[in-house]
Symmetry: C2
Subunit: 331 residues, 2 copies
Amino acid sequence: MKRPRLTTDDYIEGIRGHDRAILGRAITLVESNNAEHRVQAQELLRFLLPDTGGAHRIGISGVPGAGKSTFIEAFGMFLIGQGHRVAVLAVDPSSTRTKGSILGDKTRMEQLSAMDEAFIRPSPTGGSLGGVGRKTRETIMVCEAAGFDVVLVETVGVGQSETLVADMVDVFLVLVLSGAGDELQGIKRGILELADIVAVNKADGDNINATEVARAEYERAFQLFRPPGHAPWDPRAVVCSALTGLGLDDLWTLIEDHRRMITSNGALDEKRSRQRLRWMWSMVDDAVMEAVRSHPEVSFRLSGLQAEVLTGTTTATAAAEAILRAFGIGR
Amino acid sequence: MKRPRLTTDDYIEGIRGHDRAILGRAITLVESNNAEHRVQAQELLRFLLPDTGGAHRIGISGVPGAGKSTFIEAFGMFLIGQGHRVAVLAVDPSSTRTKGSILGDKTRMEQLSAMDEAFIRPSPTGGSLGGVGRKTRETIMVCEAAGFDVVLVETVGVGQSETLVADMVDVFLVLVLSGAGDELQGIKRGILELADIVAVNKADGDNINATEVARAEYERAFQLFRPPGHAPWDPRAVVCSALTGLGLDDLWTLIEDHRRMITSNGALDEKRSRQRLRWMWSMVDDAVMEAVRSHPEVSFRLSGLQAEVLTGTTTATAAAEAILRAFGIGR
């Protein structure tokens, strides 16, 4: 049974009135690929713009088994206890929306999802990474307009999703475990590049010492590869336990220190402006390259050209020029 | 006084005959942005293609003061002593070709540049990073056709030039110094992601112990952030001295081990095929985005749209859609 379509005013009123059902439908509108929906979504966002940007945008990544869901549940409950309203979004380019996965997100955060001050939304199914990125970025704005002052964006850490999330948040948190000595459970090397804060989880029971050792190792690694010149923020490592709640307060204090720092020196505004501009260009880039690939002349020749480049029987330049000519902008 | 234009056959003959003057002119042809030259360059490369791919393609980056030139001179001389023919190319997107900079490259590698078995070429002036990338990649091919079996591609490490070079070589070497304890002279954190081998230079005199300490620190950092699963190669750290030649033989042995490994398991062919395909697409991308930016309708609206996105008065999506409509492929 189809629900009556909402006007943009209905959406605005519902979102400002913290109506969860309408918030959910607004996000569904933002996530829609239907041309008509996208027009209304952009109209809605234009009206909501003045109410956006107010939240702590926090990216959360983690190695498999680091206990991300448990952490987000515990951290979310902690923040609600501090009087915050918390939205939890996920970025999973591989996900295909099903009742199951929605249920999944609710059940893996049972406590949190039952709270009025929390809103949990599974990953959009955007097909392309760029699609997921647009939808999540706009969902952040909608949640901010709905009065959520903390937005946690979880990444499954598949492929480029971490870079994508890092480019839509103010601070990027990486959840890790204490490793068996040498090897810290194969965390991606590039993560050092993205992380503002590393939290070594499961600092409970017999594991407390091991997490402290790991924390020191990460601090050390951060110092080893400190970027030249004055960085606005030197990455830090902390320990915490989603089980006992140990360290969650220190972690939040650290996030607030980071916030104060990048707010006072204007780095936050700069960062968000640059993010928006990069985002705009990446959407243009995605759309144009899609137009190239789907161009009849191009798609007719593409597989042949790619094969020749792969086998090395054609230079990449010659193949690129052939594609550009086929698209109609080549020499 | 203009030199007589060479036919493609002249170029091929000269290159196969190891004629340095013609090799230099062939590279100049490859580096030319002139449409007519580019047609002839592509014809030339098509003929040379079967003779390409035979060299060790080695990327060399280094922190300022790591002694890159001295190292390349010493390493180049060592390789020539081993019976190799060595081409040295540079990637410096900021460079503007002048007699000075050519002279610069020759004088900073005086010994090497005097050798018949060495060929030193300063960075092309490509304007865009993409332009420099195309020219350097094609210059590698020309040098291979001219019988150079080791091609050293030096990056100045400005901006994205390291990523660019890492994507055109078989092995990426990062030259560092032993740091004052904690901070290894601010090497970019992301370098860990790119480096196959880190060489701690200036392992001579009183500095030998310090370089050994630094080497151990890098090995440790590599282990800390070892990627999950079976990587084809675990990055290694070594010490060397461009001054005394210490460690250059071990370094070359390590590079040959790496080569043997990625050749035996097919990783080299795969890597080069992927590099060519990425290169093709990046050239298409650069050209198409340039066409977007220079489109009259777009450039007319662009500054206004960018300002609105920066100040947050327009959503990035709305601005992107406006640009796409202006370019003529939008909804």
